[in-house]
């Protein structure tokens, strides 16, 4: 389900079936590294959309958690904890953070359900390869998520 009124209405009605939240972690900056940063965000956004499309009956795609690259990691972690607590109190059983930003790797052990994927410059691929590639990546991420549901 997407973050829009029509989907959230459904979510509120069917809450017992929807227990998984996906939060893209998207870095921002405006210096020389900008293009790479944008690419990381775009990639994660595309994956998030596709996961939502295939698992929409049990997953809510939350708006992205954005942060300036300059923001200290501890600060980000603090903010992210607030988000996560809010989501869990709101009925989320599984909260997945999806990111291409390598910064979070350092916190992998502290952040439960962090899905880290290296960004790929999709804009240089033609449409068919792009779709196949995204489908494959999404497939493996989905296995992680659905695997948790079953266990």
């Amino acid at each position: 389900m997407k973050w829009r009124a029509k989907d959230i209405e459904r979510f509120l009605e069917e809450k017992q079936y929807v227990d998984t939240i996906i939060v893209p972690l998207i870095p921002l900056n405006w210096d020389e590294g900008m293009l790479a940063t944008v690419r990381e965000g775009e990639y994660v956004q595309i994956l998030g959309d596709e996961i939502e499309r295939q698992l929409k009956g049990r997953v809510v795609l939350n708006p992205a958690f954005t942060y300036f690259k300059e923001e200290a990691l501890e600060e980000r972690m603090k903010r992210l904890e607030t988000w996560k607590n809010g989501m869990i109190n709101g009925g989320g059983k599984f909260v997945y953070f999806v990111t291409s930003d390598v910064d979070w790797k350092a916190y992998e052990s502290q952040l439960e359900h962090l899905i880290w994927l290296p960004a790929v410059p999709l804009e240089h691929m033609d449409e068919r390869h792009r779709n196949d590639f995204v489908a494959e990546t999404v497939g493996s991420v989905m296995k992680t998520i659905t695997g948790q549901w079953i266990s």
Partner: protein, 169 residues
């Protein structure tokens, strides 16, 4: 010359003229606006067109996952929508193209991916299951069979149209 000989007084004449010209001016301004406002309604409905998906000779009795792109228009917003169909031949030779959208809450179902329940469609979200022809299996969450694409065969090619729901059962 007296006014009585005319049916229309000077005042009436001026009134009519002003009303006519004013009305015409108002109409010139309003008519195109109305046209702009309802334009999407006047457009031919898209999405009803049939899209080529595969050759009939490649269709087997085993459901095959085929992706195809449909150009959709929602008001002014144009976008490409990726669709999936599971296509196979039934025992009687009829072609069936199923929509993989679970009728429970809309997840995407997969064919034959659950070892515990072979030769069924299976929903990863809440364990909904369907038979090969897309009939929901009682005791699993889905309230209705999988939707079916409108099919059309022309010159050995299979074209798909809109998804038709098969109601609740």
């Amino acid at each position: 010359m007296s006014n009585k000989e005319h049916d229309v007084s000077r005042r009436q004449f001026l009134n009519y003229t002003l009303m006519g010209v004013g009305g015409f001016m108002a109409a010139t301004m309003v008519a195109p606006m109305a046209r702009f406002a309802i334009d999407p309604l006047l457009q031919k409905k898209e999405g009803t067109e049939m899209i080529y998906v595969m050759d009939v000779k490649d269709i087997t009795t085993e459901p095959q996952n085929k992706k195809f792109t449909v150009k959709k228009v929602d008001g002014w917003h144009k976008f490409d929508e990726q669709n999936i169909a599971y296509i196979f031949k039934k025992k009687n030779g009829d072609i069936l193209a199923l929509s993989p959208t679970c009728t429970h809450l809309g997840c995407t179902v997969a064919w034959n991916d659950d070892p515990a329940h072979p030769n069924q469609f299976h929903c990863p979200c809440h364990g909904g299951r369907y038979t090969k022809t897309g009939i929901n299996i009682p005791g699993t969450p889905p309230p209705a069979p999988l939707g079916v694409y409108k099919t059309q065969v022309k010159d050995g090619k299979l074209y798909l149209g809109e998804v038709q729901s098969r109601g609740g059962a």
